[in-house]
Symmetry: C2
Subunit: 353 residues, 2 copies
């Protein structure tokens, strides 16, 4: 607290990211990183950037990267906005498209950064309850609003919403922006990108942090009608002209273009997840349906906080949320390699004996 702070600073409750422990040799299953390295083609492109040209600014518009993303998704480059991780992209989306007189709607249990952005930009919001199965119920969103945002699959549950339902919502809600935050979509959830050319109020947000193994590079993007993208560009150019450095642009282009590697690692993660779910169920965990690279699981007899602590003592880090109470007995476990799954299952078996 200081007299020198702007008023808003006193009111902020900043987001707390999952722990990034500095120890090595941990089985780190807490922040949904991909267990596989980035494509060798990405690493090659990145090595080439460590050169004299770093003295020069990057392209402020990241045109080549926008082209690569547009090509991958079958869209035009003016339907693409890029940023320093999907968190920065989301921040600009909140400021540029979701601040209106009526409240923004998002699920009661969801990505916990959403209410933080609302605090930063002073956006009114209403949190809409999930149903008894932790699913998003469309009926809750059919009311006057200044915008709608939800992750698909939702966080931290991992539960996907079928594309049919996303489209039903878009048909019913035409007067405000609908943002589908698809950070985890590649792991088996249907993407709403196919609807972009039909709905001028749809924004889809993706990241290269998860399915493209580039959490360390910080690149995310938004797709939507060019008028929505223009709003994001106007805000970005009033904030920071050059958010994408030369490494981020070169690495992200190579990642978008190496489709075979992407498909291959994605399938490996999905296969490991399906096996992990079966093993967890054998240990008396209830596991929610997952369209993500993580599972959300609750033991029938043991407290979440206790299991999380016991795993940590064995060098395995998972994420457990203290609030809301409804999810506090769930563990959010990143899908790692088969070997990491085995380490986890072995530890849990021992713990639960």
């Amino acid at each position: 607290m200081s007299q020198f702070w702007s008023d808003i600073v006193h009111k902020l409750t900043p987001y707390v990211p999952g722990e990034q422990p500095k120890l090595v040799n941990l089985t780190k299953l807490n922040t949904n990183e991909n267990p596989y390295p980035p494509s060798p083609k990405v690493l090659e492109a990145l090595k080439a950037e460590a050169a004299e040209t770093l003295r020069l600014y990057p392209d402020p518009n990241s045109d080549k990267l926008k082209n690569a993303i547009a090509e991958y998704h079958g869209l035009n480059a003016n339907q693409v906005f890029v940023g320093n991780g999907s968190d920065e992209v989301l921040a600009h989306v909140f400021q540029a498209l979701l601040k209106h007189d009526k409240p923004l709607l998002f699920p009661e249990i969801t990505y916990s950064f959403y209410p933080v952005y609302c605090g930063l930009y002073q956006i009114d919001f209403e949190a809409i309850a999930l149903n008894a199965q932790f699913e998003i119920e469309l009926s809750g969103y059919l009311k006057p609003n200044g915008g709608i945002i939800f992750p698909n699959p939702n966080a931290p549950t991992g539960i996907p919403l079928a594309l049919d339902n996303v489209e039903k919502l878009l048909k019913a809600n035409t007067q405000s922006v609908v943002v589908v935050d698809e950070a985890y979509v590649d792991f088996g959830t249907e993407s709403a990108v196919s609807l972009i050319n039909q709905y001028p109020n749809l924004v889809v947000v993706h990241t290269l942090s998860k399915s493209r193994s580039l959490a360390g590079l910080r690149v995310g993007y938004a797709l939507g009608h060019c008028a929505l993208i223009e709003a994001l560009i106007r805000v970005k150019d009033s904030f920071n002209s050059y958010p994408i450095d030369r490494f981020a642009e070169a690495g992200a282009i190579a990642a978008m273009q190496d489709v075979d590697y992407f498909e291959d690692t994605k399938q490996k993660v999905i296969k490991t997840r399906e096996h992990l779910i079966i093993e967890m169920q054998k240990l008396d965990f209830d596991v929610l349906p997952s369209g993500a690279n993580f599972i959300f699981a609750k033991h029938r007899n043991r407290l979440g906080v206790e299991l999380s602590q016991a795993l940590r003592e064995r060098g395995i880090i998972v994420r457990q949320f203290k609030s809301p109470v409804r999810i506090s007995d769930y563990l959010r476990i990143t899908v790692g390699t088969d070997a990491q799954s085995k380490t986890l299952i072995d530890s849990l078996s021992e713990l639960l004996k």
Copy 2:
């Protein structure tokens, strides 16, 4: 324009950065990049980052980088804030520390991003006139205010304000934050970093884009009292937890540590500048005093727009500002290598014949 835009978007007048032409073989003297490559140690550190670890998030707090910056300046790490270029750092400074009931004060002719930030965060400001020699006059700032910000050396003039004068201002202005934006300070202007431990309302902003030849990497930082830094961290953690990617952190650490290389290239630029000024004066240019890696120069008989265009036709890009009228006949010319200076002087000699 779209019904889906937040109100603020309609009101923005985004910053327009200097052109980043995609042609090669230009003599690019328009965006104040360093003509020398980054230190070989920086390139080595960057190559090592193109590795499997990119699948993992970077340290959200960039602790190692903060330590390296603190060590270089003889400060503590809690007096350091880092961001994705000094433009991002400045954006957070405006939002976190400069929005108050009274107007923010900055020079009438200055870094043109300042009024843009004010538009984005809806901060009232008052532009204070420079004197007849284009210098900052302290007397203009001795009035009630919600904060003061100026570049030192000022942009786009390059004129330095002596440290004595900066301290006079700090002694007189104790009730609001004073931000000294030292993007170009290393090229011969006295830094206010030495005053940080005495003035709890002082923030000094630096970038690695200019004197450390890393415009392509996007790293800047702010230094100040830990209570001011805390405000910046609170805003950053409400915006984007991980703005500094793994390359940016590793490269910036190596750059802060290779002091010999930094001193050497800096001296080369200063030497070239002094020679360039003499040559320009011989061609009938009035050149303002420069403590930066650029000069601001006006020909006695020829229009700025005309000279700028004629140079462009010869493959030399400099920056010329259409407004305010008072500076429209000046050319802002980045100090390049001796060879680039010669190319420029030869072209100008021919043009002015």
